[in-house]
Each structure stands twice: as structure tokens, then as C-alpha cells.
Symmetry: C2
């Protein structure tokens, strides 16, 4: 293949113990999801490999299904505290944390991400999500989660408020004139005075405009509403795409919506998730992948499947029977529900087999092979307008990330697809995103 001048972006999707649901059972994997040293090691591996960012998902509830006791997903660090800690043991890599708009206040969210952006010298990103699980609702005074449309309306307004708060201060507001005693220009700050359907927020924010102007806005919704929200405001989109063709269609669709909001194609980066198991030979890679698969308790795989299909309890169905017919989910997982239903039908998978299939990649595209094979595929996706980069999921942490960093990254660098050293200091600079001007102080 030819070398490329355009370069791809890489995210390291950190999940305690790794992405494979049974990773923690592997003898070589540290099984404590609250061991900071594992995250520190993973972050430093990713930074040495010049990844654009670390990415941390989130939920504001502990899983409550019957098999929760058999997975390592019940407890974990809160993302903003974790990434703040990681900001001091890294220097360049971006720090993207998930925070829900459904059960938060925009003032708190704006403030914490702006604070992280200052702490890290311009490396913060906010992955905006909505909450679609009843377990989350129950921790915030509700019996059921907020319906999809209302959730997105709230998310839209939430995001407007956060962006407005991030623009509270002019970049040059702080003159700090020791002689006169003037600390900031009185005309360098503005109250937001937002009064909307869901929020009333006066402002200004009590954090100065941050090094990136605004932390990078990341989204992951793939519903129609989610795509419109992303086209209007997102700068990075994470997405789960099971095939090249699907990824190309998604890419074309989302990029095609940008012009409608006065935005250019380069203003939004699309980064599908890819589950990667790498080996020096194809056999070694397959063997490694199967080691993890063999550790999957079928009931645990099915419980995970139930959550991914839209929080269904599948524990009453026979493991060796087919995927039962389910009502279309009302939550944000509808496109994933369709994909998994198709997959089960086309390959005649039993419930247990389908559960095992998603135990590692969770519906993301999976690559199991040699460094060359994996680099080939990533290059095809990248050059074939299916991706601007990838969010890398590895079966186990920290070693799965080290495998990727030591084996795949050099091959991507050799092909000119990935930087060999950081050129910039901020996440925006890594991603090739403009620093937004402050529209209120021009």
C-alpha cells in the first residue's frame, strides 16, 4: 500500500481490566478495577505511542442484573477524578471523559472540564451522552429513564449552556496589573443569562477560558437525533460499526450533514471503535483471542448482551436457544439492537454464542491478526472514507495496549499514517481541530 500524508487519530479506550468481559479472569491481568497504577501504566503506554487521547466511558449506576457478581464492571473510578490524576503523570495525550447530560447540572460539567483543561494544559475533552438505563434514573429521584426525545432536547440545551459558560471570559481578560490592582478587565467577562426549557443558568463560569478555548466536544449517538446533534456541535464522534460498508455509510451520512450547519468536513472527526487482538503470527493472535473467549461464562455473556440490546433481562431464556424476539428498545441502543439481531439470524447463533461473540468487542469491529494484517485493515478504513481515526479497544489492560503500541503502532508509523512524535501540546492540536474564537469577545 502507499503511504499517506493525512494521518489518523487514535484513542485508547480505557476500561478497567480491559474490554473483554472475562479479561479479569486471565492469569496475567490485574483484576482490581480500582488500581490506579494500571491506568497510569496504560496512559503512559498510549502516550509513548503518540495516541491522540485516552477515553473513559461512564455510567452513573452499578449494573444490577443477576450476573453482575460475575463481571468486573460494578465498580470503577469516576472519570473526571481519574483523568485529573492522570493529567499529572502524562504530558501530551488528550483526556476525554464521559459525563451524562441527563442527571447533571451544566454549571458543574462546564466547570469540571474547564478545570481539567487548565490542569492539563489544554488536553480535556467531554464525551456528551444521555442516560438510558433505569438503574441510572433510580439514583437521581426517578423511576424510569427520561424518554429519548426529551433526553436529547435536554442534551441539546445542556450543551448550549456548557459552551456558553466556557465562553464566559475573554481570552485576554486577565491583565493582572499589580501596580493598578486591576486583576481582570471588567469588560472581559459576561454573564450567560440563559433561561430555557430545561435550565436557567446565570453565569459567568468561575474558571477562566481554558487553554483550548473550549474542551473538545465528543459524542457517540447514532440515532437520527443523535446524528443531528453531532453534526451541529460534535468535534469527534465515537461509533460502533460492524463492517467497512456500514462504516462508510455512516461516515458519508454524518459528514454530509455538516454543511447544513455551516461546518466543514474537517470540523468533525469520526472514530469508530476497533477491538484489536494482535499476535506475531495469525495463529498466535487467534490463540490469544480464544484464550479470552474460553473464559466467558455463558451467563455473563448473555447478561452483557441483554444490556447491549437495550437493558433486557435475558436470564430466563435457554442458553442454547435462539435470540428471542424483543420489542424495539426505547433507549439509545436501537441501532445496536438491529445489528445484533441481524447477526444472530444470519449466522444462526444461539444466545450463548451471540453473548460470547460480543464479549470482547461489544459490537465494535474486531481485528484479530498480525500487525501487518491489522494495519492493512485500519488503512483501508482510513483511506476508504470510513474513519478519520480509531478508538482502540483491547481485551486486557495494560498488556493488550502494550501489544498494540509495540507491534501495530510502528507499522502505522512506517506507513506515514501516524505521527512519530507529538507536534502539538493540546488535544485540539493533535486532532487538527481549530481553537474556537470566543464569539462574545471579538
Amino acid at each position: 500500500m502507499t503511504t499517506s500524508t493525512r494521518q489518523l487519530s487514535l484513542g485508547a479506550f480505557l476500561m478497567a481490566t480491559g474490554h473483554h468481559v472475562a479479561a479479569w479472569r486471565h492469569p496475567g491481568v490485574p483484576a482490581d478495577p480500582l488500581d490506579f497504577s494500571v491506568y497510569r501504566r496504560a496512559a503512559q503506554i498510549a502516550e509513548n505511542a503518540c495516541f491522540d487521547a485516552l477515553f473513559v466511558a461512564d455510567s452513573v449506576a452499578a449494573p444490577n442484573d443477576a450476573l453482575a457478581s460475575h463481571s468486573a464492571r460494578s465498580v470503577y473510578f469516576e472519570p473526571l477524578t481519574l483523568l485529573s490524576a492522570l493529567s499529572t503523570v502524562t504530558e501530551r495525550i488528550g483526556l476525554v471523559a464521559t459525563a451524562t447530560t441527563s442527571y447533571n447540572e451544566p454549571y458543574h460539567v462546564a466547570r469540571k472540564f474547564a478545570s481539567l483543561d487548565h490542569l492539563s494544559g489544554g488536553r480535556a475533552g467531554w464525551n456528551l451522552v444521555t442516560s438510558d438505563a433505569a438503574a441510572e434514573a433510580g439514583n437521581f429521584g426517578r423511576d424510569a429513564h427520561i424518554p429519548h426525545a426529551e433526553r436529547y432536547a435536554r442534551a441539546w440545551e445542556f450543551q448550549q449552556v456548557v459552551q456558553g459558560l466556557w465562553d464566559s471570559w475573554a481570552d485576554d481578560a486577565f491583565v493582572r496589573d499589580k501596580a493598578s490592582g486591576q486583576f481582570h478587565r471588567p469588560d472581559g467577562v459576561r454573564a450567560l443569562g440563559h433561561a430555557g426549557e430545561h435550565f436557567r443558568v446565570q453565569g459567568p463560569l468561575n474558571v477562566a477560558r481554558s487553554p483550548q478555548g473550549r474542551p473538545v466536544l465528543v459524542q457517540a449517538g447514532s440515532s437520527e437525533t443523535g446524528r443531528e446533534l453531532a453534526a451541529e456541535s460534535a468535534e469527534v464522534v465515537f461509533t460502533a460499526q460492524p463492517s467497512l460498508a456500514r462504516a462508510q455509510a455512516f461516515y458519508a451520512d454524518l459528514k454530509g450533514r455538516l454543511a447544513g450547519y455551516g461546518r466543514g468536513e474537517d470540523d468533525l472527526k469520526i472514530m469508530p471503535g476497533v477491538y484489536v487482538v494482535v499476535g506475531r503470527s495469525e495463529a498466535e493472535a487467534q490463540d490469544k483471542a480464544e484464550q479470552f473467549q474460553a473464559l466467558v461464562d455463558p451467563r455473563v455473556g448473555v447478561a452483557l448482551l441483554g444490556r447491549m440490546l437495550g437493558n433486557f433481562d435475558l436470564s430466563g431464556y435457554p442458553l442454547d436457544g435462539p435470540l428471542p424476539e424483543l420489542p424495539p428498545t426505547e433507549d439509545g441502543q436501537r441501532s445496536r439492537q438491529q445489528l445484533l439481531t441481524e447477526l444472530a439470524g444470519s449466522e444462526h447463533l444461539t444466545l450463548a454464542q451471540l453473548g460470547q461473540r460480543i464479549a470482547g468487542g461489544r459490537g465494535h469491529f474486531s481485528l484479530v491478526g498480525t500487525p501487518l494484517q491489522i494495519a492493512d485493515q485500519l488503512q483501508v478504513w482510513f483511506e476508504g472514507r470510513a474513519a478519520d481515526g480509531f478508538n482502540i479497544l483491547v481485551p486486557h489492560l495494560p498488556l493488550g495496549l502494550e501489544d498494540f503500541a509495540l507491534q501495530v503502532v510502528p507499522e502505522l508509523q512506517r506507513r506515514g499514517l501516524l505521527r512519530k512524535q507529538y507536534q502539538g501540546r493540546t488535544l485540539r492540536e493533535h486532532l487538527g481541530l481549530q481553537r474556537p474564537a470566543n464569539p462574545y469577545f471579538t
Copy 2:
């Protein structure tokens, strides 16, 4: 003076640029309140001096008075992100962050502090406050702050929920049995199922029980309601006491309330704030203190005074006139309002003089003198049942803290009043507080 076996606790009250309102104007003081390196330096100075904890105050609004542009208090790090970052550049010192119960959700607060406790190996503390400023209310959909009684009722329930969530998991819940695939014991977790006046929170928390069992609970309220809340649940109380006699009365009163809640005297540590300016000679100390006082713009001092009296706008009153008669404040500053009114009356201070008087210590007891003089006073308070320790306020950061650490701390250590090295690893161990058992799993 004689040496003592009981030892005192020290908190380093970190405020951007320092406590003196004009500190940032001093030539030797870094004037950027969002410079992490200043905090790192201050944290390491305090840790080298064996302080029990760092303490960070908070407000969820930027000050909006006319003189905000002339003080360095408008922007600063959000406490939980800041202390998470500091957790990785320190090893032993406690990390106490303020978070309001008025405009937060207990699930978020419980989770973030538990996460910080895990990140730091058991060094987290939560300073529970209520919000009493209209500017804060305006950032959370309200026109005015919540009235005092309702605020405290909410705080009480909030704290119950947070403590309950911290006890979601048994200390030994996580068996992580790789062979059987059981990650935690199913009977090692419980939902909270709280349904009260202000909150409905199902739980469980998605963070394991933390190294300290529960992060240390700190409070600072001094109203009647505040004292009862503290007697019931606080483990540390910060307080502003202007004289030894007042501090002794407060100490006796609060300790006397503990038995009513089945608690012992040692279950709650009382740590008054002390503003300290130290010099090798008394003249040098006075000179240093006056250097800062001379930098106070009288209008800035009066604006700060207005906030401390209960968010009054005093800008319309003559600077050389007396403190005007003010209605009793409805917010949490009533005891401070009384003290400052008495002080102004007894010393016939003008408005500008009173503003200047509180520009450094903010109503806390002030000590300006040699290391011996300062150590003498601290010992008198400590041995005279006015304090179990002190929250140290210094005029400027990081150098004011260095002065205290290099000059006063060795004198306290020589007298046996302060540890020469840490004996424990957690904040509870430093403070001599028991690790609470989990009442739900005994």
C-alpha cells in the same frame, strides 16, 4: 513550656495566590490562580512538614460585585479535579475538598469522594457546606438561595444518603476468584433504597468501599443548626474564632453536644483557622504583614467585607464612615456578622479600616510574630481546650506556607506538639480517627 504527648493536627488551607486579598499584587507572588505548579509546590511543602491535610474551599459562582475585577478570586480550579491531580504528586497528606449540598446530587458527591479516596490510597475528606449566595442559586435555576432551615434539612438528608452510599459494599465483597469467575460476593452489596423529603436514591454506589471506609466528613457551620449537624456527624470542624475565650466556648459547646449522639470527645476534631505571618524578628513579621496590608485597595477590602457579612453591597457607603447598621443576615454568616459588628464598634473602625482588617485573616484569629511567639499561642490554644489543631491560612502562596513550614513547624516538633514523620497512610490515621465499620455487613 512543657512538651505534650497529645499532638495537634494541621491543615493547609490552600487558596489561589494566598489568603490575603491583595497577595497577588505582591511582587514575589505568582498571580495566576490557575497555575497548577503553585498548588503542587504548596502541597509538597505541607507534606514535607507533615501536615494532616490540604484543604480547599469552594463556591459554585464567580463573585459578581463591582470590585470583582480588582481581586484574584473570580476564577480557580474546581476542588475535586484539583485534589485528584494533587493526589499523584503527594503520598501521605490528606485531601479535603469542599462540595455544597445545596446544588449537587448525593450520588455524584458520594462517588467522586469515594473515587478520590481510592485514587489517593485513603486520603480524601469532604467538607460539607450549604450555599448561601444568590449568585450560586442563579447558576442552578433559582432566583434566590435556599432559606437557612431548608438548606440544613437538605444537607442533613444529603449527608445521610452519601454515608449510606459509601457503605454500599462490604469491605471484603470483592473475592475476584479467577477460577470460578465470581468477582464479588452477591451478598457483599446492598442497594440503599433511600426515599426521603429531598432525595430518592436507589444505589448501590458504583465505587467499592473506600480505603478509609468512608472519606472523612468535615463541616464548618457554626449556627445552632450547624452545630447540631456537626455533633451528629462531623469528624472535623473548621471554624473561625477571633479570640481564645471564644474558641474555648465554642470548643466546650460542640464537644459537649457529642454525648447526645452517642459519640466520644475524640470522634470530632475542632480546628480553628489561624492566619499566620511569621518573621525572624517581631519587627520583620510586622513589616511583612504590613506590606500586604498596604496593597489593599480600600474598595476591595470593603467588597470582601460585604460578602463576609452576608453578601451585602457596601459600595454605596463612605469609606471613612462607620459600618452601617445592617439587617441580620439570613444566610450562614450570622455569627461572623455579629463578631465583625462588635469589632467595628469596640475599636471605632471605619468601613475601610474594617475591610483592611479582614483582608488577610478574613475573621480568623491572626498571629503575626516570631516562630516562638506563634508556637506559644498555638500551644496555649491547643492545651487550653480551644483547638485540637489548626487550619493554617497564609497571606501568600506558596512562600507563606514555606515560611510556616520552615520556621514554625520545627518549633512545634521540638515541643512534641507535631509529628516529625507520618505514622499512618490515611487521613483518618493522621487525625487519630477510627476507620468506621460498615453497619450493613457485620
